[in-house]
């Protein structure tokens, strides 16, 4: 039932009405479609997975199949619909992106033996033929810098956590910590692209866009996919981000992330100009709509109708977005949990709180960017600041979602684009050191819908340099995320230039069962 690949009118929209399924189901689908209209998506875009979950039960009970055999003359492509997907554990996801590459051995990848190896060179056998970045390629020595911080065990799981992360330590029994995430890229631009879009080169849709495309929207008043930037701290080495990271690539741009901003308009151009109040706006829209309806009748261009509905959606957003960002009704317990800085727009804590509020309002995917983790030098000076900025917010978000019963169907992900070297970049002293980019292993975590809580997955060697057990390449990481959201990464595809493109790319990827609840 897939459209002809040469068909370019296409979101691969299967014509549901042609499916060999009962009429009632078609009707249900049609009404679902109406509800799903957002950002220009007037019906043609389906959210395959959503359709599958709609069809799912009946398919299981045999209805769809029965219908299929009844109308044998119909296209035999119903195969595409036979449970390509499964009941999702998570309906939505929040991705806390730690841009720059957090140093795993200072946070969650505890390496007690390193202390004894202070200032010793990392053995060549460990480093192997590793391509180094241009930053340390010229270093004559690669001296080991043990972590400056002590680690303790926490929770029933007895997970080792650095003293830098006292809040994260409290929730280790909820986390799925992955020590063996690894990537192919060694510099920021390609590595961030790979992490966000599954490809080192720009032009591919990001995870959020795939989800928006595949799953569709769950609410009528807010974007499906929202992006939050954390204010930069000048003390940190803030590698840039760009809209490529929340771009929809070759998917329609309606699936791109919409920024919720901490300064100026919450969403670009959201606020009416000075001197225009809600009443004037309504009247203005009434006039525009009245004339547009006339145009539609005269010219018969369906675009005109679409435009009318988009203007109405814009009008609704003008109310729903400020409501989303209005924290005045948050109880004291919120501030006790997130800390006072959550009141200040643009802080990480604020963004975490906003992410929770978006989850409550059924925004499908929220991506929070926190830059500054690129600690080439002054780790002891900068890393405590970074942790202080983020540790409590992460904990508060997870705890808050849990308390509200949202964690069961919300997947929270914490990850950067790569890890950092155990050897020091630049000078090493007992008080300080720097760390270069390291692609071979880095630590990430997830929690919530679909993830197995209280475990640490994978093992790295004693230098946190190579993986000794259970590697999780980025493509597997992404496949697992999709799985938690009920999506088979091999089936959420989009045919472009003849190729079935997917988030996980051309190298075979697999879901990591060990990470799943």
């Amino acid at each position: 039932m897939k459209q002809h690949p040469l068909c370019t009118d296409t979101e691969h929209a299967p014509s549901v009405m042609d499916l060999p399924i009962p009429a009632g189901l078609k009707q249900e689908w049609a009404s679902l479609q109406t509800r799903r209209r957002f950002l220009g998506r007037t019906g043609k875009v389906l959210g395959w997975a959503a359709l599958a979950s709609l069809l799912g039960d009946r398919a299981l009970s045999g209805d769809a199949q029965a219908a299929s055999t009844q109308s044998a003359s119909a296209a035999p492509a119903a195969g595409d619909w036979r449970l390509p997907y499964f009941a999702p554990k998570a309906k939505r996801a929040i991705y806390l992106f730690m841009s720059g590459g957090p140093p795993q051995m200072d946070l969650l990848d505890y390496k007690p033996n390193l202390a004894a190896l202070y200032d010793k060179d990392i053995p060549d056998s460990v480093r192997g033929a590793q391509q180094l970045t241009g930053m340390t390629a010229g270093q004559a020595r690669f001296p080991i810098a043990p972590s400056h911080w002590a680690f303790q065990r926490y929770g029933k799981s007895g997970t080792w956590v650095s003293d830098l992360l006292p809040y994260t330590a409290r929730m280790v029994d909820d986390l799925t910590i992955i020590k063996t995430t690894n990537t192919d890229a060694i510099n920021h631009e390609p590595a961030i692209m790979l992490m966000n879009t599954g490809n080192m080169n720009a032009g591919k849709p990001c995870l959020g866009s795939w989800l928006a495309y595949g799953l569709g929207s769950m609410n009528d008043n807010l974007p499906t996919f929202m992006v939050l930037q954390t204010k930069v701290n000048a003390k940190e080495n803030n590698q840039p981000v760009s809209s490529r990271l929340w771009s929809s690539g070759f998917l329609s741009s309606e699936y791109a992330g919409v920024g919720l901003r901490s300064a100026g308009d919450l969403v670009l151009y959201l606020t009416d100009p000075n001197g225009v109040d809600r009443e004037v706006r309504r009247k203005m829209l009434d006039a525009v709509n009245a004339i547009n309806q006339q145009t539609s009748q005269e010219l018969g261009d369906p675009e005109t109708n679409s435009r009318i509905s988009q203007y109405e959606m814009a009008y609704r957003m003008q109310a729903s977005v400020p409501e989303l960002a209005d924290l005045s009704k948050e109880p004291q317990s919120t501030w006790d949990l997130y800390g006072p800085e959550a009141k200040e727009p643009g802080t990480f804590a604020y963004n975490c709180l906003m992410a929770r509020r978006m989850a409550e309002r059924d925004v499908r995917f929220v991506q929070v960017y926190k830059r500054g983790w690129d600690v080439h030098g002054d780790v002891t000076g900068v890393l405590p600041i970074l942790c202080q900025e983020t540790d409590r917010g992460c904990y508060a978000l997870v705890t808050d979602l849990k308390q509200r019963g949202l964690l069961d169907d919300t997947l929270v992900i914490w990850a950067g684009e790569f890890g950092r070297t155990v050897y020091s970049q630049g000078g090493l002293t007992h008080d300080n050191y720097g760390r270069d980019h390291h692609p071979r292993c880095f630590t990430t975590w997830m929690t919530g819908g679909g993830a197995r809580p209280g475990i640490t997955y994978g093992e790295t060697d004693e230098y946190s340099y190579n993986i000794v057990k259970d590697p999780v390449p980025v493509r597997d990481f992404n496949a697992t995320i999709l799985h938690c959201l009920g999506i088979d990464h091999n089936k959420l595809t989009y045919k472009i230039q003849g190729l079935d493109q997917k988030l996980t790319g051309t190298t075979p990827a697999s879901v990591v069962p060990g990470l799943l609840a």
Binding site: L132, G134, S253, G275, K283, G427
Partner: protein
């Protein structure tokens, strides 16, 4: 958001009901008893056999698309993915016998064909096609039926349509010929008839003039122009309008605006710091070219290879900036070889999309899965773009050489005169180059000035370093001892570039130990020489270039020994008995005047770029953030303290060059000789064979020994000290004697040429021919040399004449051979085969007798034999005007691309384009003069049902304007538009914190500094284009990021767009200006003013309904603002242009809202 994607831009609002209609409509079509060929996405239907007999299938239109989309990914051109040895894209292989396999296709017998059995099978394991995961993906019944029919008809294969040269079709005989007046219309009508559709009546004159004015100029017609046209009853009225528009200056801007997408124009580099760059003169060149109606072949050639064309003015060179418009990087830590590969790849893809209409980029990692483009084809094509005289990273600078400086207008004439002279001389050089092999042969045959070798007397070491891999380096000196040196496990890089031959580079961990070769004492003469390329990498400043190129020195023994080293570009020869641990460094003073402020340039690059031109955009402290040793402050003091303790006296000779070597990534031959005198005066240093000025730093060796047991090595001092990082080496020699100055001169080239010429010419390879030719032209042919020096003088004049002018990035070809490497899976280090620049094997060959460089590519691109360029270009023109190309996939004319909706029309236009002398205006005129274009846009339910995308053209075009046109129209309607052509990009209003929240500190595009005055009201094509943070109002309306060539934009419809046109300060200000304009000039009565507003925006009077809605809205707004004058004042103060104080605020505010209503109408934003 804002990306360009190669999928058909389709209305985003096709409602579900339309999908239902679609399939229903298809069956309607079938009643016509014709085979339905692919139009849009309608389902294919089995061929219908009529009483009259079987309908022949068209392989290209009907069959190949089905095979391609279902079969080729495993049974297509890519051998890596091929399953069961079956290849279906070629007849020979599809019909071939395969051992142990039944015949896939038995022509005439579908039932015996395995292909049919497989696709019809009910067994999921046997059924084809299957996904890579092995899941069966059954085909549509309709497609199966077509394949069956095709095999039954004999399985006729035909070459892919787009790779065949277009020929003008015979025009159909048209019956109702009052409608079809032009060839375009005849071909469109024939098709409509075939589908049972009818053309629409001509659009109203007001609609028509609005449409054509927007299309040809990107602006609205004035009410006066509209009424003049409406009242002009002459038969030529419309043509006069078209001619006027084609002659207007705005025409070139409108065309250039599209071309900027095709060429990926932007004002920043696009990665990491995303700093600004100077290339806007290219944009102005494009405008100028369209306005002057430069023939398209010339236009294309100038962009691909303007630097290689004879030039009467600077335009061709400015045009060549096209090559360098893509994204580039300077991210610290990135590897130059990877960046170079990325750049060539980027340019190849861009060229492929814009000029070939092919997705050649699909062949980066493997042979194309659908098109015949092999991986080798891709890299051969990329080689054309791999020979630019540039560093592979941009230095975060606004200018990244090569650049040209555009003379100021008052100097242009003088400049062009000199340039013409230069061109003539350069033409002579090129003529010599074209026959360089013949000239060189003649020279060698004449026995005049034969190449003379350097005597191999006492040659103890010769490392050619041409092994290309392996475990050992050969010592090719006569009687060499030892004869080879093990490389060991250390990592070295082979063949990244080609100089005399594919080269050799030591990596960070490479140690090449040469034992006791070079064991000499103070009283023994010796010489050393070789080709070196110093490392140039992002964030490697001149300061970073420091260390030993070659040494035999023991740093544990007070540096006893000798070495050739480089420090901040200064070369030094050291002969040391002992010296303090911290070696003395050449004074900084010398460096200051040199490399830091200048880089060496060939014409056209200005030789006197100021330090400011060359300065990185980011402030210096940030630049080296990555290299900063934060913890090392204390550390860095340590050595100084130690040095103070080290009171070792200096017993050494140190001779240094005065001028530093530029860090330009070029090969240089460096040699030195020492006469065994124990004196500094006994040391001579030569660069490229010429003695260079030196300074004596120490002359205190006396008769002390310099012998050491430390091994001689490349790139380090024993044991592991001060490497000259990542240097490339070729042909390193060590002589146990002092070479004479004449020998030193012959060492770089002549000696090697002598060696080559001892072999028969038939055995010379390409590289050897190149070396011989270069030597002949530069060193033997006096005439060539003389012309070159005249050119140098003219270049100096050109530099002078262009002083103070703006800089722009250009392309500049290196004299070397354009090569690239085929890379396994596209990985930059996985080089498999070096290939010379060439065009894809399935297309016509390059013009004969030319070197394979960009000029050859440019000529090929617009040659009469090229089947693609003309088609691709006219198709884009069509796309601009009609909203969809005749081939919808404007960027893909390959197997997976859409088939043309009107193949004959496309070919007719393509041939007409070429035969007209590539006359661009002629083509636009033909298209807009056609009845097809002039039809009313009104669509009937029947048309919508049968052809929802209007690909058959049963009515006129109607679609939302592009981002730039929308803003321009808004500005124009309020009289705000500052209609001035060209100049640096401007920064109009932008919401706060768009750049800041994503950019890296230190970037020169970190903070958006809005300009004021006229800059706010320029046409949108002049708005500064930052790739990593696009102008949000443009982005909302689907403007692409311009990371890559975009040949058609998406056209979405989103609430974010409504927010822009309702709330963006630019739109509110435009509404107020429009309100003010109609109040001031429209008359007193509301209906008069509304009429004027409508005339301005829609080119017609408001229909009664609109009028009444707006008037009643006006009444409401007046009431509102009369009651709230403060709100009124606030509204009319939006924007920087002051409003007319004589108009009462409530009145102006109310009218502002009415104007905003009008600006937001579907009809207003639609073309």
């Amino acid at each position: 958001m804002g990306t360009c994607y190669p999928k058909a831009a389709t209305p985003k609002s096709v409602v579900l009901s339309k999908l239902i209609h679609l399939s229903w409509a298809t069956s309607l079509c079938l009643t016509g008893a014709v085979l339905v060929t692919a139009v849009g996405c309608r389902d294919r239907q089995p061929p219908v056999t009529t009483a009259q007999g079987a309908q022949q299938l068209d392989f290209n239109q009907d069959v190949q698309p089905i095979l391609a989309s279902n079969c080729f990914s495993c049974h297509g051109p890519d051998p890596e993915m091929r399953k069961a040895g079956l290849r279906l894209d070629l007849k020979e292989s599809a019909f071939a016998k395969r051992p142990q396999h039944p015949d896939a296709i038995v022509p005439g017998h579908p039932e015996q064909s395995e292909l049919i059995k497989r696709i019809e099978s009910k067994d999921p394991h046997y059924l084809m096609p299957q996904s890579p995961q092995g899941d069966a993906k059954p085909m549509k019944a309709a497609d199966i039926a077509i394949l069956r029919e095709w095999i039954k008809e004999g399985a006729v294969y035909r070459p892919h349509w787009a790779f065949q040269k277009p020929v003008k079709p015979r025009l159909p005989v048209v019956q109702s010929n009052d409608w079809a007046k032009t060839p375009i219309d005849m071909l469109v009508l024939a098709r409509l008839k075939k589908e049972g559709l009818h053309p629409s009546p001509e659009a109203d004159k007001d609609t028509l003039i609005r449409r054509v004015t927007l299309d040809l100029t990107g602006l609205l017609p004035t009410p006066a122009e509209v009424s003049a046209f409406v009242n002009d009853e002459s038969p030529q009225a419309y043509e006069h309008v078209v001619d006027r528009l084609l002659a207007s200056k705005s025409y070139g801007e409108a065309r250039a605006r599209y071309w900027m997408d095709y060429a990926r124009y932007a004002d920043t580099y696009g990665l990491h710091y995303d700093n600004s760059r100077d290339i806007w003169p290219y944009r102005d060149y494009v405008i100028r070219s369209f306005n002057n109606n430069k023939p398209f072949d010339q236009f294309a050639m100038e962009q691909i290879a303007g630097d290689l064309l004879p030039a009467k003015n600077l335009d061709p060179l400015i045009a060549s900036g096209y090559v360098r418009l893509g994204v580039s990087s300077n991210e610290g830590g990135t590897i130059p070889e990877e960046l170079r590969v990325n750049m060539a790849r980027e340019r190849t893809k861009a060229y492929g999309a814009t000029f070939m209409g092919l997705t050649v980029g699909c062949a980066v990692c493997h042979d194309h899965k659908y098109d015949p483009t092999t991986q080798k084809d891709f890299y051969s094509l990329s080689a054309f773009f791999n020979n630019i005289d540039e560093l592979p990273f941009n230095g975060d600078r606004p200018v990244w050489t090569p650049v040209a400086r555009v003379p100021k207008p008052q100097n242009t004439e003088a400049y062009d005169r000199v340039l013409a002279k230069r061109s003539e001389l350069a033409g002579q050089l090129n003529a010599a180059r074209l026959q360089e092999r013949d000239l060189a042969k003649r020279w060698l045959a004449s026995k005049q000035n034969p190449p003379e070798a350097v005597s191999a007397d006492k040659l103890m070491l010769r490392l050619r370093l041409d092994e290309g891999g392996g475990e050992v380096l050969k010592n090719s000196a006569p009687n060499a001892h030892p004869a080879s040196f093990p490389i060991g496990k250390s990592k070295s890089q082979w063949g990244e570039t080609t100089w005399l031959w594919p080269d050799f580079r030591i990596d960070a961990s490479t140690h090449i130990m040469l034992g006791q070769t070079g064991d000499k004492d103070w009283n023994q003469p010796f010489s050393l020489g070789g080709w070196f390329m110093l490392r140039a990498a992002p964030n490697y400043t001149v300061e970073s270039t420091s260390g030993a190129l070659i040494s035999k020195m023991d740093t544990t023994q007070h540096n006893r020994g000798w070495d050739l080293s480089v420090e901040k570009g200064i070369l030094s020869v050291d002969l040391v008995n002992e010296e303090p641990k911290e070696k003395a460094k050449p004074k900084k003073a010398t460096v200051k005047n040199g490399v830091l402020t200048k880089e060496p340039f060939d014409y056209p690059t200005p030789t006197d770029l100021t330090a400011k031109d060359l300065a990185p955009n980011k402030p210096p402290p940030k630049k080296d953030a990555h290299k900063k040793e934060v913890a090392g402050k204390k550390n860095s003091k340590k050595p100084a303290a130690e040095m103070a303790k080290d009171r070792t006296p200096v017993v050494a000779i140190k001779v240094s060059t005065v001028d530093p070597l530029p860090l330009d990534g070029k090969w240089r031959h460096v040699s030195f000789t020492y006469d065994g005198s124990g004196k500094a005066s006994g040391v001579k240093i030569y660069v490229n064979g010429a003695a260079v000025a030196t300074r004596v730093v120490f002359d205190a060796l006396g008769h002390s020994t310099i012998r050491t047991q430390a091994p001689m090595q490349l790139g380090w001092r024993y044991p592991d000290a001060t490497p000259a990082q990542d240097t490339r080496y070729q042909d390193i020699r060590f002589y146990g004697r002092a070479l004479t100055a004449d020998e030193a001169k012959r060492l770089p080239y002549e000696d090697y040429v002598a060696e080559i010429t001892r072999k028969p010419q038939a055995k010379w390879n390409q590289d050897q021919w190149h070396v011989v030719s270069e030597f002949y032209l530069n060193d033997v042919n006096a005439n060539y040399r003389a012309i070159q020096s005249q050119i140098d003088q003219l270049d100096a004049q050109l530099d002078k004449l262009s002083e103070g002018g703006p800089l722009t990035l250009v392309a500049w070809e290196k004299p070397s051979i354009a090569y690239a490497d085929v890379l396994t899976r596209g990985v930059y280090t996985a080089r498999t085969e070096r290939v010379e620049a060439n065009t894809p094997h399935f297309l016509p060959p390059l013009p004969a007798g030319m070197p394979h460089n960009r000029l050859a590519l440019a000529k090929w691109t617009v040659s009469a034999e090229n089947p693609l360029t003309a088609r691709v270009t006219v198709n884009r023109m069509w796309n601009e005007l009609f909203g969809a190309g005749l081939v919808e996939t404007t960027e893909d004319f390959g197997i997976m691309g859409q088939r043309p909706s009107h193949p004959e029309l496309l070919d007719w236009l393509a041939v007409e384009f070429r035969e007209s002398g590539w006359d661009v205006k002629h083509m636009y005129k033909l298209m807009v003069m056609s009845e097809t274009y002039r039809q009313s846009a009104k669509s009937t339910p029947e048309q919508l049902a049968k052809d929802p995308k209007n690909l058959l053209l049963a009515h006129g075009p109607r679609f939302r304007m592009d981002a730039e046109m929308l803003r321009d129209v808004a500005l124009e309607s309020g009289g705000l538009l500052e209609n001035k052509i060209g100049g640096p990009s401007v920064k109009p209003y932008q919401p706060a914190n768009v750049w800041e929240q994503v950019s890296i500190g230190g970037s020169d595009t970190l903070a958006y500094v809005q300009q004021h005055g006229d800059a706010l009201y320029r046409r949108s094509m002049y708005t500064y284009w930052k790739r990593m943070a696009m102008m949000p109002d443009m982005e909302a309306f689907d403007a692409p990021m311009r990371d890559e060539a975009c040949t058609r934009r998406q056209r979405t419809d989103t609430p974010l767009q409504a927010l822009v046109t309702m709330n963006d300060v630019q739109w509110v200000e435009a509404a107020r200006a429009l309100a003010q304009r109609v109040i001031e000039t429209g008359g007193k009565q509301p209906e008069q003013r509304i009429k004027l507003m409508s005339d301005i925006l829609l080119s017609h009077d408001p229909p009664p309904k609109m009028d009444s809605v707006l008037e009643s809205s006006l009444t409401q707004m007046e009431k509102h603002y009369a009651a709230d004058p403060k709100a009124a004042r606030e509204l009319i103060e939006v924007g920087e242009k002051k409003s007319d104080a004589s108009i009462p605020a409530p009145e102006l505010a109310a009218w502002t809202m009415v104007a905003s209503e009008m600006l937001n109408l579907d009809e207003t934003v639609t073309k």
